[in-house]
């Protein structure tokens, strides 16, 4: 068996297939330059190539494909938001996730397990009822559930009847799901590359060439390129990159820390979050418990981790699942979240012509990957802002028309 495997491996008849085209020298000009080869950037390239016939695209990343927040998020997919604008947008994203494996011919390992948000106060119950009504009105499966139902959904949960944070009920979101985050970006990038998009890793954008208020090209560590338009999709570095284009954003960058335990037998089906305890958890298909929480208490551009946040996370998760006291932490990490004042993204046009923004993704970026790729591609290809993302334009802050989703975070930050 090992010998035949070796023979197969070295045989010329079965050459290794490369998923991505090998890196070439940068061309002098591209129709579209996308800064940031994460899930969003790759998705924008894919939808441009497949649905709009635009393939002269450079997908640039200062590091490697999907190595930023696409690798660091906790892979939660849900649409139980609070505003009609938010719910419509994320609902469409969840729908696209359902057909994504077929669309990409790449298994993104979507698992629709449902998401349960716990309420420990009467105020939380009231806001959950509001969210449930809003969600149902827009065709999203959310309902307010009582203690008994919570117990049935998650038998291992500590209800803390006499504790400080007793579980009073929850918001049950049957559409909640998870997927393999790496597969999402690899799938998008592979299919984009197969259609002629050029992926350039280790290519850092160091300046943006703007003439008379129009973006004309970018300067990178591998040479200058001119282009028809620029899309920035750089998550935590949004303010830094936008500044090169002379754009100020309503963003603060905070680290968010998460961790993963050793694997256990499958025992936790839904994704569970507690806004009161600032913690959310899910068991991956490998059996590990992924635990995430709120952002750090102050802004920072470093992905260092702190013992304080790990202690806070651990204390919170033990309130919910005391048996995890024995669990060993296998990995822990941080990602930079670009938080906006209203917890909604900033998408669409910018003050610079031919320069498009895909920023302000805070802690809600992964779940929006497909719809973001689709709508941003539409914007780049047609020049008109799709209705779905119109409410998220940068100009909303000047009109004092925020899209307040602060109440709909999984672990209020």
């Amino acid at each position: 068996m090992p010998l035949s495997l070796l023979k197969y491996g070295f045989s010329d008849r079965f050459p290794a297939k490369f998923q991505f085209t090998p890196t070439k020298n940068l061309k002098k000009h591209y129709d579209v330059v996308i800064i940031g080869a994460g899930g969003h950037g790759a998705a924008i390239a894919f939808y441009l190539a497949k649905y709009h016939g635009i393939t002269d695209i450079a997908l640039l990343d200062r590091s490697y494909l999907g190595g930023g927040n696409t690798a660091r998020n906790t892979a939660v997919i849900r649409s139980n938001y609070l505003t009609p604008e938010g719910v419509r947008f994320y609902r469409e994203s969840v729908r696209l996730f359902h057909e994504l494996s077929n669309e990409l011919n790449y298994n993104v390992m979507l698992e629709e397990r449902g998401q349960l948000t716990l309420a420990c106060t009467d105020a939380a119950i009231r806001s959950f009822r509001w969210r449930a009504e809003m969600n149902q009105h827009l065709g999203v499966r959310s309902e307010l559930v009582d203690r008994q139902m919570v117990r049935e959904l998650v038998p291992s949960l500590r209800m803390a009847e006499n504790g400080r944070y007793p579980v009073l009920g929850g918001l049950w979101h049957a559409d909640g799901a998870t997927a393999r985050h790496d597969a999402v970006v690899w799938g998008y990038a592979r299919e984009a590359c197969a259609r002629g998009v050029e992926l350039h890793q280790l290519t850092e954008v160091q300046g943006i060439d703007i003439q008379n208020g129009v973006a004309k090209g970018v300067r990178t560590n591998r040479g200058d390129i001119s282009c028809g338009c620029v899309v920035q999709a750089v998550a935590g570095m949004s303010s830094v990159v936008a500044e090169m284009a002379g754009i100020r954003l309503p963003i603060h960058s905070y680290p968010l820390q998460a961790m993963v335990t050793q694997p256990y037998k499958p025992m936790l089906d839904p994704l569970v979050s507690s806004p009161q305890l600032h913690v959310y958890v899910q068991q991956t298909s490998r059996g590990e418990f992924v635990i995430g929480g709120g952002s750090d208490p102050y802004p920072l551009y470093s992905t260092r981790s702190t013992l304080e946040m790990k202690e806070t996370l651990s204390a919170a998760i033990l309130e919910l699942f005391p048996f995890l006291a024995q669990a060993k932490v296998l990995r822990q990490w941080a990602g930079i979240t670009d938080m906006t004042p209203d917890y909604s993204p900033i998408m669409g046009l910018s003050p610079v012509e031919n320069y498009y923004l895909d920023a302000g993704w805070g802690t809600w970026g992964f779940k929006a990957t497909p719809i973001c790729g689709k709508t941003m591609a539409q914007l780049v290809a047609t020049g008109t802002v799709p209705d779905l993302i119109q409410p998220f334009e940068l100009e909303r802050f000047y009109r004092f028309e925020q899209v307040n989703e602060a109440g709909a975070t999984a672990a209020s930050h």
Partner: protein
């Protein structure tokens, strides 16, 4: 555990402090347009590098300013608002 030096109370554990946002001067509310006011309220430099920001020692309610590097999380110095270091321009935020 990270230590932050309060200009009044001396070095204390960072968990005793509350972050108060970037230092940026407020425009005159009577003179500024809605657009300028929105800029002031919502938009930030969010600089990667040295910034001046407000901090509060919550146990004693002392508000002060800190010069901190947001790339490395190193605090360069802290001072109370009435005692600006001479080498710092207090009319505009550092960018």
């Amino acid at each position: 555990m990270k230590i932050l030096t309060c200009p009044v109370n001396g070095p204390r554990n960072i968990s005793e402090f509350i972050y108060g946002g970037e230092y940026h001067p407020q425009p005159d509310p009577k003179q500024s347009s809605d657009r300028e006011w929105a800029e002031y309220v919502f938009f930030h430099a969010n600089t990667r590098g040295r910034v001046i920001e407000w901090w509060c020692h919550s146990a004693t309610s002392v508000w002060f300013l800190a010069e901190r590097d947001t790339g490395t999380d190193q605090v360069v110095r802290t001072f109370v608002a009435g005692n600006w270091p001479k080498d710092l321009d207090q009319s505009e935020e550092l960018t």
